[in-house]
Symmetry: C2
DNA sequence: GGATGTGAAGTAGTTCACAGCC
DNA sequence: GGCTGTGAACTACTTCACATCC
């Protein structure tokens, strides 16, 4: 396990969630050949106020230029550094169905810092095939050492897969299955739930208020560090 | 557009994001034949404090029983009602690749209240095939009337698809493409970004602190209601 | 001139602590 | 006894306003 160096002062949770968004904007501008951006522009694209952007970025150190905004390249680097993209994390993905394939083939999922270590499945017609440059392993094989385990299996077997990953020494799980997982203390589980954003959208449509002409930023994402074992 | 009736007093954004989680927990307990749950248990499974759970649920009206917790069935119903699951929304999905398939075949994505209206793609080998009970339409066909458009196409064409959906009168978009979209005022865009949760997880691993043995709830999900047109 | 960075003020959300009810 | 529901206290985040610097 890499030594976690204190690189920046602690960032707030909402800030951490916004940084990847700013980074995407910076990358987008960079790829269009633009090399300066100001907090106003970032804010409009990200859906937050310019002040919020400035405060978030000020937390990474003062690298803006008064009167001229931020250098896109430097912005990118600073965010990458703050998020720890300069350290490498091995990621294993379990469940190579449509979702697993979508993830590992996405240009977006395995961003800098995350390195695909292995893929696992149980289906005999999937095991042995090559997906995203990796031969899919059987789940009966031992799980390789990794930092993060990504669960893309049906909900009915998600708990079992989680147990297996934890047993292999993986203490950070990203769970795409619609299933509440119970894990030992010291293991982090983050849930990704497609339907939650849809439900939030529906709520706002329903109430007229919200994103339609109003507020814009949402809370999402739940982690269950040390849940009690479910109902016996 | 359905008449938006005011059904409950306004709920806070974080509360709205947590309700689907509570609902999933309630469903999970219900399916195991248990019919009572208390705020402590919900909190442990959801990764929030019992007080937060109680406050959230109190916002839906007082339906708990002092000394005995909440009836799982009633809990389910109240949340469904609050989120507007009793109204129907038509959803169209554009881009029937791995991700689009994963979504429409998921037991989770199209929850109560959301009804799949049509699927679209451009690839000739996909158009005409049947996925999740719907024949995939060509994007050259007119888009059917719907409330929500789901974008699962590559980032390079996401803006173009968004324009097409907006042109068809759809004012609520759920964007899975890693691409900042610009839409007219009055259109809501919610971004779903798989990598953000992974990046948040990496940040916390990196800093020792956070989900591993500490805090647990995260912010995520960004909406851009009325962004300025990007860099010319 | 123009945009950053930041104290100070304001607002929103969470947690405490306990009264109320089953 | 046990757990909900909620005023009150607290904490965290956002926004304002402006001094600061290029």
């Amino acid at each position: 396990m890499a030594t976690p160096r204190l690189r920046t002062r602690k960032l707030s949770e909402p800030t951490i969630a916004r940084l990847p968004v700013y980074q995407r904007i910076a990358e987008s501008w960079g790829s269009r050949g633009l090399n300066r951006i100001d907090s106003q522009q970032i804010g409009e694209l990200a859906g937050v106020t310019a002040t919020t952007v400035r405060r978030d970025l000020a937390g990474l150190g003062s690298f803006g230029t008064r009167g001229a905004g931020y250098d896109v390249k430097v912005l990118n680097e600073r965010i990458a550094e703050a998020l720890g993209h300069d350290l490498q994390y091995d990621v294993v993905v379990v469940g190579i169905g449509n979702l697993g394939r979508a993830l590992v083939n996405s240009t977006n999922f395995l961003i800098r810092g995350a390195r695909l270590a292995a893929l696992y499945d149980v289906a005999s017609d999937v095991v042995g095939t090559v997906v995203a440059g990796h031969e899919v392993q059987s789940l009966t094989e031992p799980i390789v050492a990794a930092t993060v385990g990504v669960i893309c299996v049906p909900p009915s077997v998600a708990q079992q897969v989680a147990d297996q990953l934890v047993g292999a020494g993986i203490h950070a799980l990203l769970n795409f299955a619609p299933q509440v997982l119970t894990v030992p203390i010291g293991t982090a589980v983050h849930y990704v739930d497609f339907s939650i954003e849809l439900q939030i959208l529906m709520y706002h449509l329903n109430n007229g208020t919200g994103p339609l002409g109003g507020g814009l930023l949402h809370s999402l994402g739940i982690a269950t560090p040390t849940p009690a074992r479910g109902p016996s």
